[in-house]
Amino acid sequence: MKKKAMILLVEDERMDIELTLDAFRETRLDNEVHVVQTGEEALDYLFGRGRFQDRVYAPLPDFILLDIKLPGISGLDVLQTIKQTPKLKRIPVIILTSSKEQQDRITSYDNGVNSYLVKPITFSGFLEVVESLCEYWLTLNINAPNDD
């Protein structure tokens, strides 16, 4: 049986976290969402540093939902680091942001983002996004082979 899908949500806004998690819950998909609230924490998680040393407790995600506007290290910096790190670069990174700025879009794609989504304003919008994401990245899309 396929193991539970693991999603890393990098998001500082508490209410957005709640909405996203609620949407995941509502879709009743069999997955686990791990939430970190800063860029630094996201990198700690991915690199297995500090409290994320235990890979059982903090396994590498099947995809990453990454906000751009984060306190401290920004989402774009996190993206760059991921895509420059060999053992992380094949993990699909989906930017989920409220920014439609051209510059953000360009930087994201230049740094190898796998998808760029704008946060919906309504809850039903969130539902649609989460459903599509899971369907696409967890079902349709065939991930790159894992190094491990």
């Binding site: 957005d16 920014s99 051209q102 946060k119 304003i121 809850f123 039903s124």
Partner: protein, 703 residues
């Protein structure tokens, strides 16, 4: 006794000679030879005749007046005359013969030579000789005559000299003196006569031909005795009309005292000179005459010879000249223009009050001093001096010339000059210069320049500040809208969750208010989206290119699929190609169509037409026409402003950003927008867009 008789005969002969001489001497002219030859002939003949009236001294030894005659022939008739006389006398003596031939001939030649010598001594003017000179001549010529007796055979000659020397030396020189004096008197009389005649001729010619007015009047009554042609022409009276009439009768003197004044002058000063008097012509015209007059006596009557000249014109031109000079002087003195006259060395000749005022020097302080060394600052001296020498040496004038001068107080003034070269009364070349003090004007100009530069700088600064502020404002709007999205998302997100899961727990009032929250958050979402779009316009940095509006319009219409079911949207199949970015063009037409669809009438089918309007070189116009509500003329300007709404939101929802977005997008593309509309008649929105790049537009000269 007979010797004395013979002597008297001789004297008579000599007197006759002098009378005959006077007849010939009248015709004497320096240029004529024949009167001299005739004189010589006369003297020769008379000498011959004299030899027939000899004083017989001894047989064959005769003495006569020939020595006197030939001496005087030499003196009065010159070489030609004396030669003829000597020839005739000599020939006759030779014919008489005797032992005294040679002595006689020698006497003839010797005396003639002495006479010629005397003529030479008195420079051919025998009439200038006085009595002593004549007597001395007589003595010399008869000493020669006595000496010639030595040609007589020895010892006859010596004996003869011893015998005759006393009577000869007593009588003959005196005879020479008397006869010579007679002839001289005659000659003088002839000369005087001739001179008198010449002077009369001169006077009458002058009287006739002179351009001056001549008149002779009697002193007693002022009766005209004679006038010249010029006088008669001048007065307008014929000569005959004037002669015999008095000046009073002719009303000649314009001043009744004229004649009296003239006579008074004559009486006190002996003559009249430089007297100016007005006179009246026949025409009644008055003329000023300048008189000179002297008294003359004509036929025993005291008369007045007056010469006059018409000086009316001279007076007039003098007056005009004086007036012109006075005018110029006054102008120079009073004009508020600097005037300086310099000689060719640059020394000051004179200056006017304005020049004194500006330089601080009196004219007397500067006169004779070099203007340039005194007043031009050292730094400017070389070029100013060069300019001056150009004027004086080559006559080259700068149209205007500007230079600083250093006043007595040390202040620097800028003067702009205009120069001219003139010859003064002595014929020296002087420059005259007129100057205006432009120091203040220059300062004002300088201040103006500085102000302008400052202003420009300030404008640039302010523009930069404005640009910065605008940038700030734009990013502010952007960040605010952006940051508003997060809470809005939370509101609408959680409201939606409540709506889904907990709505039934609310009573009808709660449900209604809850719906209001949902609606408000939706509207806020639209507003934020539109604001973000608006502020994002033009910030994308995508380069403009040629865009085919036909293709773009198809994309735009695709977004209106749902609305186009209830409306009739007609798009002209071929639309122009314009210069722009598809994002901006997209915004323009999306918003125009959205606008047209939104503000429709309650009844009837919504009709929208998209078509090309009248284009011009380099520009295209696209129109979006609807049959909607229309817009009142006074509102047509406002509708393109941000957040400008004309209708109640409940009737016609909208954010008030759409048309502002159209305007901004069109402006970003270099174009413009507008509307033609009447309330109830629908509206035609037009967009004017360039069809060429800005570079091409500039090159093509299109505005």
């Amino acid at each position: 006794m007979s010797l004395y008789l013979e002597f008297i005969h001789n004297v008579a002969l000599l007197v006759a000679l002098s009378t005959l001489y006077s007849l010939i001497a009248r015709h004497w002219r320096n240029s004529l030879l024949w009167p001299r030859l005739v004189t010589g002939l006369l003297f020769g003949i008379v000498a011959g005749v004299g030899m027939n009236l000899p004083l017989h001294y001894a047989p064959g030894i005769i003495y006569d007046g020939r020595s006197i005659i030939l001496t005087l022939a030499g003196l009065f008739a010159g070489a030609g005359g004396a030669g003829v006389a000597a020839l005739i006398a000599g020939a006759y003596r030779f014919f008489l013969g005797g032992i005294g031939v040679w002595a006689g001939l020698a006497t003839i030649v010797g005396c003639a030579l002495v006479g010629l010598g005397a003529r030479r001594l008195c420079k051919n003017r025998p009439e200038s000789m006085n009595l002593f000179a004549l007597y001395a001549l007589g003595l010399v010529s008869h000493l020669v005559m006595l000496a010639c007796q030595l040609f007589l055979p020895w010892p006859v000659g010596v004996a003869a000299i011893a015998r005759i020397w006393l009577p000869v030396m007593l009588i003959f020189p005196l005879a020479t003196l008397v006869l010579g004096q007679l002839m001289i008197n005659e000659q003088r009389r002839i000369i005087t006569e001739r001179e008198l005649g010449e002077s009369e001729e001169k006077f009458s010619k002058a009287f006739r031909l002179s351009p001056l007015l001549f008149s002779i009047t009697t002193q007693a009554e002022g009766r005209f005795v004679d006038v010249n042609q010029v006088f008669s022409e001048f007065t307008g009276y014929a000569r005959d009309e004037l002669l015999g009439r008095t000046t009073t009768e002719m009303q000649f003197w314009a001043d009744p005292d004229g004649r009296a004044q003239m006579l008074e002058r004559l009486r006190t000063q002996g003559r009249v000179t430089g007297l100016e008097m007005p006179t009246r012509l026949r025409s009644g015209e008055l003329r000023q005459l300048l008189f000179a007059a002297e008294a003359i006596t004509l036929q025993g009557e005291a008369c007045l010879l007056s010469v006059s000249v018409d000086i009316s014109q001279r007076l007039q031109s003098e007056a005009a000249l004086k007036q012109a000079r006075d005018f110029a002087e006054n102008l120079i003195a009073t004009a508020n223009v600097i005037f300086v006259e310099l000689d060719s060395s640059g020394a000051v000749v004179r200056l006017n009050a304005a020049a004194e005022e500006i330089t601080g020097y009196r004219q007397s302080e500067l006169q004779g001093h070099n203007w340039f060394l005194t007043l031009v600052p050292k730094k400017s001296y070389p070029y100013v001096w060069e300019e001056f020498t150009k004027i004086t040496e080559r006559g080259l004038f700068p149209k205007v010339f500007e230079n600083p001068i250093l006043t007595k107080s040390g202040a620097e003034h800028y003067i702009v000059w205009q120069n001219k070269l003139l010859h003064n009364a002595d014929g020296e070349l002087h420059t005259i210069s007129f100057g205006i003090d432009i120091t203040e004007r220059r300062q004002a100009e300088e201040e103006l320049r500085q102000l302008a530069a400052e202003l420009e700088l300030r404008v640039a600064q302010r523009t930069a500040e404005l640009f910065e502020a605008n940038q700030e404002l734009q990013s502010f709007v952007y960040s605010v809208s952006h940051d508003l999205r997060a809470p809005l998302r939370a509101i609408s997100g959680f409201a939606e969750i409540i709506g889904r899961r907990h709505r039934q727990n609310l009573n009808p009032e709660g449900q209604h208010y809850f719906d209001n929250i949902i609606e408000a958050s939706q509207r806020m979402g639209e507003l934020i989206t539109d604001l973000l779009t608006y502020s994002r316009l033009g910030r994308e940095g995508v380069p403009a290119r040629l865009v085919d509006l036909s293709g773009l319009m198809a994309e735009v219409l695709a977004g209106f699929e749902r609305e186009s079911d209830q409306a009739e949207i007609i798009v002209q199949p071929v639309l122009p190609v314009v210069w722009g970015t598809s994002t901006l063009l997209f915004q323009i037409f999306v918003n125009l169509l959205d606008n047209a669809l939104k503000y429709h009438c309650r009844e009837g089918v919504v009709r929208i037409e998209v078509r090309a309007g009248a284009s011009s070189a380099g520009w295209s116009v696209i129109e979006v026409a609807d049959n909607g509500l229309g817009i009142a003329p006074e509102l047509q300007d406002k509708i393109f402003n941000l957040f400008q709404r004309l209708h109640n939101r409940d009737d016609y929802p909208g954010t008030g950003i759409g048309l502002a977005m159209v305007k901004k997008a069109a402006a970003l593309l270099g174009g413009s927008v507008g509307v033609k509309s009447e309330p109830g008649q629908g509206s035609v929105f037009w967009v004017r867009l360039p069809t060429k790049s800005p570079e091409e537009r500039i090159k093509g000269g299109m505005a």
